[in-house]
């Protein structure tokens, strides 16, 4: 089965409704109120809250009733080594992206609702209730911010003139060759006057929001290791619909699956050759290899 453009648009519309009516108000009202009540996950920086789980069950209930034949992969229900993304239509959902922001009341937590088919992102809805922004897209139907078509202003895309989303993430173990080391070194190379000397780096602590900012062209790129398929699925679709591309964070990773864990997104508003050149220039500053 391959979903038609119309079917994809219908899913997009349902996800927007769900995000704006059900999830948004919950995130907004609970953000910044759970300082003392989080559980520890992988380590005590990556926080999962009761609300996170509650939101996921609301989403799963809603979607399983409306789309009983579709599979579902969510951050909270995910089992490492068992949960797989197959070819059939699969909702890939991060109930609350930017959990640390959510805990601290930093206004960059959002819900990230995606759909994949044949392993590719085909619908994406990201809703940030604090800023009242809904980014949404489906394959072949264009991308929108609050219903208005996103069009990235064409302009030169050059490493030294770019601002790039760079996050430190929650995995921060220092050892030779660790992902944390690779990120620090690469970040340093990109910033350094003797290296990439980029205009700037920005960090808001939410992969989904970073990807949406690349989609709208507010950021020129986003380079990161560590996110999961649910962090990137929605944003990936939105980026592709605005002419942007997604490749891997390590040099040479031109084609990557949804669950690659290492991502490098580049905005649209540029020619294919410019994007390719940009990717290669950034890769030349990657020191070490990210592996998960």
């Amino acid at each position: 089965m391959v979903l038609t453009k119309e079917q994809l648009k219908e899913v997009e519309t349902s996800l927007i409704q769900l995000a704006q009516k059900e999830i948004g108000p919950l995130i907004k009202s609970q953000s910044g109120t759970k300082f003392e009540s989080y559980e520890d996950k992988a380590n005590n920086v990556d926080l999962v809250t009761v609300v996170d789980k509650k939101v996921e069950s609301i989403v799963q209930d809603f979607l399983s009733k409306k789309y009983p034949d579709f599979a579902f992969v969510g951050e909270e229900g995910f089992i490492k080594g068992e949960t797989k993304i197959g070819d059939k239509p699969t909702f890939i959902v991060d109930p609350i992206d930017g959990t640390t922001n959510f805990i601290h009341g930093y206004p960059y937590s959002c819900t990230s609702l995606g759909l994949s088919e044949n392993g590719k992102a085909v619908v994406g809805v990201v809703h940030n209730p604090h800023l009242n922004q809904t980014f949404h897209a489906s394959k072949g139907n264009g991308a929108f911010l609050n219903g208005e078509c996103i069009q990235v202003t064409p302009r030169p895309l050059i490493l030294q003139k770019s601002i790039i989303g760079l996050e430190s993430g929650s995995e921060r173990a220092e050892s030779p060759g660790s992902n944390f080391e690779t990120k620090l070194r690469t970040t340093n190379n990109l910033l350094s006057e003797k290296g990439g000397f980029i205009h700037g780096s920005r960090s808001h602590g939410s992969t989904a929001m970073d990807l949406c900012y690349v989609a709208t062209g507010l950021l020129d790129a986003y380079w990161e290791g560590g996110p999961w398929a649910w962090d990137v699925c929605a944003g990936w679709c939105i980026i592709e619909e605005t002419g942007g591309i997604m490749v891997g964070a390590n040099p040479g990773e031109w084609e990557i699956p949804l669950e690659n864990r290492r991502y490098f997104a580049v905005r649209g508003g540029a020619k294919k050759e410019e994007q390719t050149w940009f990717v290669e220039s950034l890769w030349s500053h990657v020191e070490g290899r990210l592996s998960y």
Partner: protein, 296 residues
């Protein structure tokens, strides 16, 4: 001019009106439209100055001069290194567009930052971000307002739990000088703050605007902000706002408990349940700083 003669609340309202109605609309309409920018020379050649930046400063200066003719004025664009000095006089300290790189790229964290000092102390602060339509303002003794409404910072702080290093999110921005000892100090300090074996802070955020970072601390979205290379106009408004919410600003280097507005390196932190809690936080933070930030 004696302090009691100046109605700080009136100054705050005047600046808020100027920020929202004159400066804000220019920033908003011109953001992302200036692809042909000049590059400043030397160490700051990532720091972009645009024509608009200069225009906005002129507008602010003219408006303030006619309303407050006896006050001094220090602005980013008219500042002359080694010559411009902050005195005890009432002095407007202004960054027409804070976050110029954001402004050029249309990243929605450029804002205007309008402050005033009296006896070198920040006593009025107005920060307006037209992209988020967020106005944060304060004057000494009058509390903080968000979009004109009083902000209940006490309630916010009491809901926030203890201020402690490994539970905090910290604003960290590498800035525009990207070589030499200060860049090295920043990079190693970031690493040490983030590392499991170091401060292991909850997270770092990089907004690319000192004023917005400080406004976010006052609102409780960030716990602290550590930076070097900023000027008085980047921090003056935010400093006043922070103080009104029980926050503090100290130096970026260990032991710098008392600093001037033009210290060039800063550690700003939010209000907490007690002064001891804040002092403990500052000491823990300083213990993670590797090397020293130093500016001419």
């Amino acid at each position: 001019m004696a302090a009691k003669e100046i109605d700080l609340k009136a100054v705050e309202e005047f600046l808020a009106d100027l920020a929202c109605n004159k400066v804000g609309p220019i920033i908003k309409s011109k953001s992302g439209s200036q692809q042909n920018y000049e590059l400043k020379t030397g160490a700051r050649n990532v720091d972009i100055v645009t024509t608009i930046d200069k225009q906005v400063e002129q507008i602010v200066w003219n408006t303030l001069k006619s309303q407050y003719p006896g006050f001094q004025f220090i602005g980013e664009e008219s500042y002359v290194k080694g010559v411009t000095k902050i005195t005890d006089d009432p002095t407007f300290i202004i960054d027409p567009i804070d976050g110029t790189t954001n402004f050029v790229h249309d990243f929605p964290f450029s804002c205007t930052s309008l402050g005033m000092t009296l006896n070198k102390e920040p006593v009025v602060g107005v920060i307006y971000n037209p992209h988020l339509n967020l106005l944060v303002s304060a004057s000494r003794g009058n509390g903080v307002k968000v979009n004109g409404e009083p902000f209940n910072y006490k309630e916010k702080i009491s809901s926030m739990g203890t201020l402690q290093l490994n539970k905090s999110i910290v604003g960290l921005q590498p800035g525009s000088a990207r070589e030499g000892p200060n860049f090295k100090c920043k990079a190693s300090t970031y690493q040490n703050l983030l590392s499991v074996d170091g401060g292991f802070i909850h997270g770092s955020r990089n907004l690319g605007s000192s004023a917005m970072s400080m406004a976010y601390i006052a609102l409780g979205s960030l716990d602290a902000y550590w930076d070097g290379g900023c000027y008085a106009w980047d921090v003056c408004a935010g400093w006043c706002i922070l103080k009104e919410t029980g926050g503090r600003v100290v130096g970026a280097n260990s032991g710098e408990w008392d600093i001037d507005v033009d210290n060039r390196s800063y550690l700003a932190l939010r209000g907490a349940h007690s002064g001891e809690e804040q002092e403990k936080y500052v000491k823990e933070f300083w213990s993670c700083v590797i090397g020293n930030l130093k500016y001419d």
